[in-house]
């Protein structure tokens, strides 16, 4: 119920933001930097077939580097960044709690078409999972990797500022070599991101010139 309330608030905010953003012009072409906050929903299937579900909050910082411009505001380029997830098991109760943190870099391809965009990222994350309660007081740490498909749209607030919304679908594997379980565990899910993007209007070379030469 709390999640639903949060989502309705987010819905309202985004809707107002969308209406406000529509009259503005498209963002100028160039390297851009993005900050995002997200609402993730993940799940995994244990080796005994039982499913565990997670939600929480996520944040992300990314840079997008255009490589080939093919429309006035469209390009094919690269994205790279860092994301962080703070997840809670939805079965948490007064007797047992499971929480996890996931942090890691990603790199991928990014395609922008007018106000729409999509892409794919390869990610490596380090996770720390901990349990507190009557059954288990423990934690574990390991690394895993996976891939994320994403799509979204954005609206221009000013010449250098966009806001947007992104839907990502991630598929990751917890390797049995680190979990010591009999099989790999698929850890997958989706995240809805609210993004704000700062466009520099400049190429990577010009940004390097600005930072390191001038």
């Amino acid at each position: 119920m709390k999640s639903l309330k949060n989502m309705l608030l987010l819905h309202s905010f985004l809707f107002i933001a969308a209406i406000y953003a529509l009259p503005f012009e498209a963002q100028a072409f160039g390297v851009s930097f993005e900050a995002a906050i997200g609402y993730p929903n993940f799940s995994l299937t244990n080796t005994d077939g039982s499913k565990a579900f997670y939600d929480g909050i996520s944040v992300q910082g990314a840079a997008y580097i255009p490589a080939w411009k093919f429309q006035k505001t469209g390009y094919l380029g690269f994205g790279l960044g860092l994301d962080y997830y703070d997840l809670n098991n939805t079965a948490n109760n007064a007797e047992q709690v499971e929480k996890s943190n996931h942090l890691g870099p990603f790199i991928g391809v990014h395609v922008k078409l007018s106000r729409f965009f999509f892409g794919y990222n390869y990610n490596i994350r380090k996770t720390r999972i901990y349990w507190v309660g009557d059954f288990t007081n423990d934690y574990t740490e390991f690394e895993y990797n996976g891939g994320t498909l994403y799509a979204g749209m954005e609206w221009t607030l000013s010449k250098k500022l966009d806001v947007g919304i992104t839907y990502t679908q991630s598929t990751n594997q917890y390797p049995s070599s680190v979990t010591h379980l009999s099989d790999d565990i698929e850890f997958s899910g989706s995240t809805i991101w609210l993004t704000i993007k700062l466009g520099t209007g400049q190429s990577v070379g010009k940004i390097f010139d600005t930072v390191f030469i001038n």
Binding site: S3, L4, M7, L10, H11, L14, F15, A18, I19, L22, Y39, N41, S43, L44, N46, T47, D48, S50, K51, A52, F53, D55, N89, T90, A91, E95, Q96, E98, I129, W131, D134, F135, T136, N137, D138, T140, F142, M153, W155, I165, Y167, Y174, V178, T179, H180, L181, S182, I185, S190, T191, I192
Partner: protein, 314 residues
């Protein structure tokens, strides 16, 4: 106007996708740990405790201390999600210890009808049936503590002859496995699916003074033996015994119990050196140090797995 409609529909679509809220299980823990727990009964005169440990061997809690009560804990088993049952010798009885719920911390008599001899290990079914080793009998109680049979399994049942039985294990298909510590050192297997009738399925010789026994998820039985301090693997019917752990009393000495850990390894209670050791099913130690080495664990009389979802919890 078209942009407005597209924006609204897009936002609605992704937000509906994100509004799923489900309840499920917990992730089965990693690094050898799990939501399952380990029950241990300590039979030392200075530590007559029943204890709870995590799968990685870390201490969880003392469930109950019998030092000021009459009774030596000889066996322990999960009863439901909130309580365990403990078999006690002198005064002979089965007690129920609550560790969760509104009665947490309390202990009460579960059953003592028919118990008058030497009490050893016990086992339970998820339906709440309790099977207890008593002298050369096996007593059975239903979930209310009412005695079933007089006793449920007598000394001789077909080709199964109880001779100083010690360990007891109930399989998921209602086969009761009992170790004969005395006599010709046998592994007896009974069909106990019918509360009013018992059938002896097999009686096979094994090792020297067998004690704790389990059925592993690989389908085999694993038995610890006290006379030669070894660990044996047999077929599911108790035949074809093969030693997987040769005698090394610095590690396994007078073993009393054996369980399967969440990672499939075995954990073996070594009562003479007050330790629990983890090894794989081929008999290779998982670590150079014990899984459990704790001042509260002295003269271990029984060790059992307490599944996280036992009794329908979670």
């Amino acid at each position: 106007m078209r942009d407005l409609v597209v924006s609204f529909l897009t936002l609605s679509f992704v937000l509906v996708l994100g509004c799923s809220s489900k309840e499920g299980a917990f992730f089965e823990s990693t690094s050898g740990s799990s939501n399952d727990l380990i029950l241990i009964s300590s039979g030392d005169s200075n530590t007559r405790s029943v204890l709870l440990y995590n799968q990685d061997g870390s201490f969880n809690r003392i469930l109950y201390d019998y030092r000021t009560d009459l009774g030596l804990p000889r066996g322990i088993a999960p009863f439901d999600s909130e309580s365990v049952v403990v078999s006690l010798d002198n005064t002979d009885r089965v007690s129920r210890v609550y560790w969760k719920g509104e009665n947490a911390g309390s202990e009460e008599l579960f059953a003592n009808s028919g118990l008058g001899g030497a009490i050893y290990q016990l086992t339970t079914s998820e339906a709440g049936d309790v099977f207890v080793v008593e002298s050369n009998y096996i007593e059975r109680y239903d979930s209310t503590g009412a005695r079933v049979g007089t006793p449920y399994i007598g000394t001789t049942e077909g080709s199964c002859v109880l001779s100083s039985p010690r360990g007891i294990f109930l399989t998921s298909d209602d086969r009761l496995i009992v170790t004969n510590h005395g006599g010709s050192d046998q592994l007896l297997i009974y069909d106990v699916s019918d509360p009013f009738s018992v059938t002896c399925l097999s009686a096979n010789n094994i090792g020297n003074n067998p004690y704790g026994v389990i059925e592993h998820s690989d389908g085999n039985l694993y038995v610890v033996t006290q006379g030669d301090d070894q660990v044996y693997r047999t077929d599911s019917d108790g035949s074809n015994a093969t030693s997987i752990w040769s005698t090394d009393t610095s590690i396994i000495n007078n073993p009393t119990g054996i369980i399967e850990l969440a990672n499939g390894n075995l954990a073996i209670a070594s009562s003479a050196n007050d330790q629990v050791w983890e090894m794989d099913t081929s008999g290779t130690l998982a670590n150079t140090s014990p899984l459990i080495l704790d001042p509260l664990v002295l003269n271990i009389t029984d060790i059992k797995t307490y599944p996280a979802n036992f009794g329908g919890d979670e």
